[in-house]
C-alpha cells in the first residue's frame, strides 16, 4: 500500500543524503594515504598508498611519539569520566530527590551556570592555577569534572531521576532504608542508563576541549592528542598527508565509543526527557 511506497521514497531521500554527509570522511581516509602531490586531486583513493604517512606521522615529534600523546589523553579522560559520572550521580540525586532548604534556589543557580560563557571565569581561574603552581599539569583539566563542572550532566540526571516513580523510594523507606541507602540500592542502579550517557559525553567533549588543553599544557611531554596535532599546523610547510593521517587516528577513540554505545546516544537523551 502507500506505506510501502512512502518507505521506498524515504530510502531515495536518505541514501544520497547520508552519503553526502559521510563523503568528506571517506575522502579523508583516502587522503590520509596520499602523497603531497596527489592530495589536490579529487580522486578518492591514491594510486600509490603512502602508509608512511602513518608511520612518519606517528613519530613526527622527535621527542615523543603519538603513543605518548594518546596515553596522556586517555589517562586524563579516565579521571574526567570518573569525576563527571560520580558528581552527576551524587548531585543529581540531591536535586532530584532530596528536599532541603533553598533547593529550588540552588537548582536555578545550576541552570543559570549552563548559560554562563566560560570566558568570564577563565582568566581568574588561570591566575588561580598559576599562583598554585598547577599550570602545565592535568589538574586544571580534571578538577572541574569532580566539582560539578558538567552542570548539563547534573541537569540530565535530575530529569532522569524525576522520571523514576517515587513509590520505589517510599517502599524502601518503610523498610527502614535511609536516604543514603536509597541512593546506593534503589536510585543508583536505576540511573545507570543516564550515567552511561554522562560518561560518553564527558569523554567526547573533553577529548575535543582544545581551548583548555591549549591553555594549561605547555610541555610537549604532557601534550594531548589535540595539541600533538597542532604541532603539524604550526609548521611553515604543513605535511598534509601526515596531519590527515594522525587526525584520522585521533578520532578513532570517539568513533569506537560511539559504535559501542550507539543506543545510548538517542535513547539516553530521549528518556531523560529534555523537553524544554
Amino acid at each position: 500500500m502507500t506505506e510501502k511506497q512512502s518507505s521506498w521514497k524515504n530510502h531515495l531521500l536518505l541514501i544520497p543524503f547520508s552519503l553526502l554527509m559521510i563523503y568528506p570522511v571517506i575522502w579523508w581516509i583516502g587522503a590520509s594515504l596520499k602523497s603531497q602531490t596527489e592530495l589536490s586531486l579529487p580522486t578518492l583513493w591514491p594510486d600509490k598508498f603512502m602508509w608512511e604517512n602513518y608511520t612518519n606521522g606517528w613519530t613526527y615529534s622527535s621527542q615523543y611519539t603519538f603513543a605518548k600523546f594518546f596515553g596522556n589523553t586517555l589517562v586524563m579522560e579516565f579521571w574526567n569520566v570518573l569525576g563527571g559520572v560520580l558528581t552527576a550521580a551524587l548531585v543529581g540525586y540531591g536535586f532530584g530527590r532530596l528536599n532541603f532548604r533553598f533547593r529550588n534556589f540552588w537548582f536555578s543557580v545550576l541552570l543559570m551556570t549552563l548559560m554562563l560563557p566560560s570566558q568570564v571565569t577563565i582568566v581568574p581561574q588561570y591566575i588561580l592555577y598559576t599562583k598554585l603552581g598547577l599550570t602545565d599539569s592535568y589538574i586544571p583539566l580534571i578538577l572541574p569534572h569532580f566539582f560539578g563542572g558538567g552542570a548539563f550532566f547534573i541537569f540530565l540526571v535530575v530529569q532522569f531521576i524525576r522520571g523514576i516513580p517515587r513509590e520505589l523510594d517510599e517502599a524502601a523507606q518503610i523498610d527502614g532504608a535511609s536516604v543514603y541507602g536509597i541512593f546506593f540500592r534503589i536510585i543508583g542502579p536505576l540511573i545507570k542508563p543516564a550515567l552511561y550517557t554522562v560518561g560518553i559525553f564527558t569523554f567526547l567533549w573533553s577529548w575535543d576541549d582544545f581551548f583548555a588543553q591549549l591553555l594549561y599544557l605547555s610541555s610537549v611531554e604532557k601534550f594531548t592528542v589535540g595539541l600533538g596535532l597542532r604541532m603539524f599546523i604550526d609548521q611553515f610547510e604543513v605535511q598534509w598527508g601526515q596531519l590527515l593521517a594522525m587526525s584520522l587516528l585521533s578520532v578513532v577513540p570517539s568513533a569506537v565509543i560511539f559504535f559501542l554505545a550507539q543506543k545510548h546516544f538517542v535513547e539516553g537523551i530521549a528518556t531523560t526527557g529534555i523537553k524544554g
Binding site: P42, V120, D208, V251
Partner: protein, 305 residues
Amino acid sequence: MFGRKSGSGKRFQHNTAGYLFISPWLIGFLLLTLWPILQSLYLSFTEYSLLDSPVWVGTDNYSTITTSDRLFVKSLVVTFTFVLFAVPIKLLFSLLVAMLLNKNVKGMSIYRTLIYFPSLIGGSIAVAALWRNMFGLEGYINHILSWFGIQGIGWIANPDTALGTLILLNAWQFGSTMVIFLAGLKQIPKDLYESASVDGAGAFRKFYNITLPMLSPVMFFNLVLGIINAFQMFTSAFVITSGGPANSTYMYVLFLYEKAFRQYQMGYASALAWILLLIIGVFTLINFTVSKYWVHYEAEGGKSR
C-alpha cells in the same frame, strides 16, 4: 518531571543529606565559578599582567574598548555575522534531518550512524585540519566545482568567503542539536497526526499546525544554547584561519584569548569577557521574553522545569 506532587505534603526535610549530596557541585560553584566571576569583575577595572599586582584604573578598560579599539569593533561585527547566519542555518538543517530520521524505515540505524558521525568528531582540531585542506585553493571542493565549469578560489584565503566556510563547518556539526530535535519529535503523540489526516490535512499543514507548536519547547532550548555557543566559537577560527585573512574571521573569543594569554592584558581581557557576558545575557533575556509568544507548553507534563 513526574511525581513532584505525590506525597509532597508530608515529605521529610533532609537538610544535611541534601547539602552533602550537592556539595561537590556547590563547592565547585563557589570556588571555581562564583569567586572567579567576582574576581573577573574586579580585574576588569584594573590593569594586570600576572607579574605585578593589579592596578585600579576605573572604567579605563571599558572606555578604551568601546571608543578606540578597532579590533573590538571588527571582532564584534564578525561574531554577530557568524551568529546571525550559523544559528538559523544549523537549527533549520538539524530540524530537517531529525524529521528525516524520525521515519520508520528499515536500516534506519545505519543512516543515523552515517549522518551523525561527522558531528561526533566535528568540534575537534582534526576536523578543523580537514576543513582547511578541503577548502584550500588546491583543495577538494574546487575540483568538484571544476567539474561544473566553476573556477574555484581559495575559500579560506579569501576574506569574503572565509567566514562562510566556518559557518558551513558549524552546520555540518548539527548532531547534538539534531538528536535533541529527534527526541522531541518522538514525544509527539502519533494520534495527533492520525486525527489530522482524518480531517484531510496535508503534510505541510500537519507540520505547521502540529509539529512546529509541539516542538517549540525543544526549538527554544536549542535556540538559546545555540546562540550562547555560537558567541563562544573558538577552535575552528583558531585552527583553520587564525582569525584571518584580513581579520575576516576574527571571532570575539579569539580576540579575548590573544589579549589574555598572548599579551597578558588580564584586566583588559576580563573587561572583554564581561562585555561578552552582557551581550549573551541580553540575547538570552530577549529569547525568554519573546518565547511567551511562540513557545507552547502542553497543559500536562510539558511544562516541567
